[in-house]
């Protein structure tokens, strides 16, 4: 924070002094690069340090924050994967997030399409109710939700968690896709109908594929949102067998305070971050596109 706060001042002075002179340009560029580098280092160092610590034994971690491990091995990773069960939680998260993502994309696209292109009684009411529901914090409905799930016998089950994820991601998905479906040309739809396609066929074979850029953007945003979801699983999913990664990490952290296995904690953190890191490197461009699209459409 302090590094950034100071970013503004020197760069500013440099700019005022320098406009229109190439030496000034160089000074500005130099100062900006320096400060941006400091910021970049501030972002990278915590991750790098975590990676380093994940190879150290607990006593090495206590000895010095900078010391290198005497032995580079994957003991901590093995421990975190098997003893702590990161593997199992990872699997749970993939199942829950995967199912919820497919469902919410499907239902969200269907509803957005119906609301955007068909006029029927209650159309605006549904749209506005969803808008209103989105403005309320999740915390407001968390207690009743607990008892709703409990009433259905879905508490602490994967299907229960999946349905709740879908319900909470639905409004955002619908809003995002609504504008996409609204912009699709009517001619294509008409052509499909003339060729004998029914409503179902027209949607799945013609309209949905045309909205795929929008679908990809929402899917990425939804994936990150659901993968990082914390409150819902913590409240609604008390069965350790069904823990998702984020809540397992939290439980593990509070336990680490007693059993003092910090090496394994760091290894677990690395294993949680690594998949996201790979996804990020691969989809970086697309992701930035989604973010700007999501807000400026």
């Amino acid at each position: 924070m302090t590094t950034i706060a100071t970013t503004a001042a020197p760069a500013t002075i440099g700019r005022n002094r320098s406009h229109r002179s190439t030496t000034g340009d160089k000074v500005v560029a130099g100062v900006s690069h320096t400060l941006l580098s400091i910021w970049t280092i501030t972002v990278i160092v915590p991750f790098a340090w975590t990676l380093l610590c994940s190879f150290k034994t607990t006593s090495e971690i206590f000895a010095s924050p900078f010391g290198l491990p005497a032995q580079w091995n994957f003991d901590n990773y093995v421990k975190a994967w098997s003893d702590v069960g990161i593997g199992k939680y990872f699997f749970n998260t993939v199942v829950v997030v995967g199912c919820a993502l497919v469902l919410v994309m499907l239902l969200g696209a269907m509803l957005a399409y119906a609301l955007a292109r068909f006029k029927f009684l209650g159309n605006r009411l549904i749209y506005n109710t969803m808008l209103a529901a989105m403005t309320f914090p999740v915390f407001l409905s968390i207690v009743p939700l607990f008892f709703v799930l409990s009433g259905f016998g879905l508490l602490s089950t994967k299907p229960g968690l999946i349905l709740v994820y879908v319900a909470f991601a639905l409004p955002f998905t619908m809003f995002f896709l609504y504008s996409f479906f609204r912009q699709l040309p009517q001619d294509v739809y008409e052509a499909a109908k003339i060729d004998g396609a029914g409503e179902w066929r027209a949607f799945f074979s013609v309209m949905l594929p045309m909205a795929s850029p929008g679908m990809a953007s929402v899917a990425i945003l939804n994936f990150l949102g659901l993968w990082n979801q914390f409150l819902l699983p913590v409240v609604l999913n008390a069965n350790p067998e069904n823990y998702v990664l984020s809540q397992a990490m939290s439980v593990f952290q509070s336990k680490a305070g007693y059993s003092v296995d910090f090496g394994a904690l760091f290894a677990a953190v690395v294993m949680t971050v690594l998949p996201v890191f790979i996804v990020y490197i691969v989809f970086q461009r697309k992701l930035e596109g989604s973010v700007s699209q999501g807000t400026f459409r």
């Binding site: 924070m1 503004a8 005022n16 320098s18 406009h19 229109r20 190439t22 560029a29 900006s32 690069h33 941006l36 972002v43 915590p46 971690i61 206590f62 010095s64 924050p65 900078f66 239902l107 269907m110 119906a114 068909f118 029927f120 549904i126 749209y127 529901a133 989105m134 403005t135 309320f136 914090p137 915390f139 407001l140 409905s141 968390i142 207690v143 009743p144 319900a167 909470f168 639905l170 995002f176 504008s179 009517q186 739809y189 029914g198 949607f203 990082n228 914390f230 984020s246 990490m249 939290s250 952290q253 971050v273 996201v276 890191f277 970086q284 930035e288 973010v291 700007s292 807000t295 400026f296």
Partner: protein
């Protein structure tokens, strides 16, 4: 949360809508599945709990028994004489006031430098090779907040933490200083973590917004003798107010929530409850004390704070826009 409002364009309803067709099985089944199925999930798991919450907030429901009495606004009156709640309210207001402002100032500076900080002659362009900074600083957004919290709780650790290690290496005597364990530093240290995790996302948002500003505006400003700093204040800022507003609202809501970060950094609310948030208090009241009525009433209070915050931000930006329009015409 407000952004979808911008998405809605009530213009030009598709033509075919007006044409009446005979209701076939195809059409009927289509409408039933496409509307009712998503609606059922939404209603059951989001709408019903929301509506129930409004009722529970007016009851004294405690524990897992179905007994509850309607007590009117008693729960809300109780909040004002509940020191823990008042403390959490104060902390959440601090978070909502501080986190968005610092984050957005930093993001704005980075975005402005990255897009318009380039040479002062020739084409308007960003700093050379700055894409790398953007890519790196966006990454924390993808990392689960709980993991960010865990990493920083280790960095802040008095004995084995990186921060005290670095400070000691630089010659400052901070060995053993408990950043999260002192009333004076617990909140600022926690705020720093949230800001650290958010700057990159809003930088990317702002970069996209600035790229949408016509280059002629910058060229005109340059002809009038404006330097980079002046251009950033007089051209960039007024032309991206809507993204700034979006940023303020999003970050504010996130800061009022702050649950995940606080759970990871100081699960018990920090020294003297100095980082205890409304969300933690609500969660605790419900699932540890079993006071479900009182807890949902706090949920309503949280919603009121959230809406009030959004209202204030909207008002401020309306005023800012109004003033800009005035000076432009004058």
């Amino acid at each position: 949360m407000t952004k979808p409002t911008a998405t809605v364009s009530p213009d030009s309803p598709p033509k075919a809508v007006r044409r009446r067709r005979r209701l076939t099985f195809d059409k009927a089944s289509f409408m039933a599945v496409f509307v009712l199925l998503p609606l059922a999930v939404f209603t059951l798991f989001e709408l019903v709990p929301l509506v129930q919450a409004l009722y529970y907030a007016l009851t004294d429901w405690a524990g897992y028994s179905p007994d509850m009495n309607f007590v009117g606004l008693t729960n809300f009156a109780a909040m004002f004489s509940d020191p823990l709640f008042m403390k959490s309210l104060r902390n959440s207001v601090i978070l909502a006031a501080v986190v968005p402002t610092i984050t957005l100032v930093c993001s704005f500076v980075i975005a402005a430098v990255v897009t318009t900080g380039g040479p002062s002659t020739g084409r308007i362009q960003g700093l050379k090779g700055s894409g790398f900074y953007r890519v790196v600083s966006f990454f924390p957004y993808c990392v689960p907040a709980i993991v960010i919290g865990i990493i920083w709780s280790q960095i802040y650790d008095p004995q084995r933490g990186l921060l005290n290690g670095l400070l000691s290496a630089l010659g400052f005597d901070f060995q053993g200083f408990p950043w999260l364990g002192k009333v004076d530093t617990a909140m600022p240290a926690s705020i720093m973590v949230i800001i650290w995790g958010s700057i990159g996302f809003y930088t990317v948002l702002f970069v996209a917004a600035i790229k949408g500003i016509p280059a002629e505006l910058y060229e005109a400003a340059r002809m009038d003798g404006a330097g980079r700093f002046r251009s950033a204040i007089s051209v960039t800022l007024p032309n991206m107010l809507s993204s700034l507003q979006t940023g303020y609202i999003y970050l504010g809501l996130m800061a009022i929530d702050a649950f995940i970060y606080m759970v990871a950094l100081n699960p018990l609310g920090g020294p003297d409850y100095s980082t205890w948030t409304m969300t933690q208090n609500l969660y605790n009241t419900a699932f540890f004390k079993g006071k479900f009525g009182y807890s949902t009433a706090q949920g309503v209070a949280l919603a009121i704070v959230t809406l009030a915050y959004a209202g204030i931000i909207a008002l401020i930006f309306r005023l800012a826009r109004g003033r800009d329009d005035g000076t432009d015409r004058a």
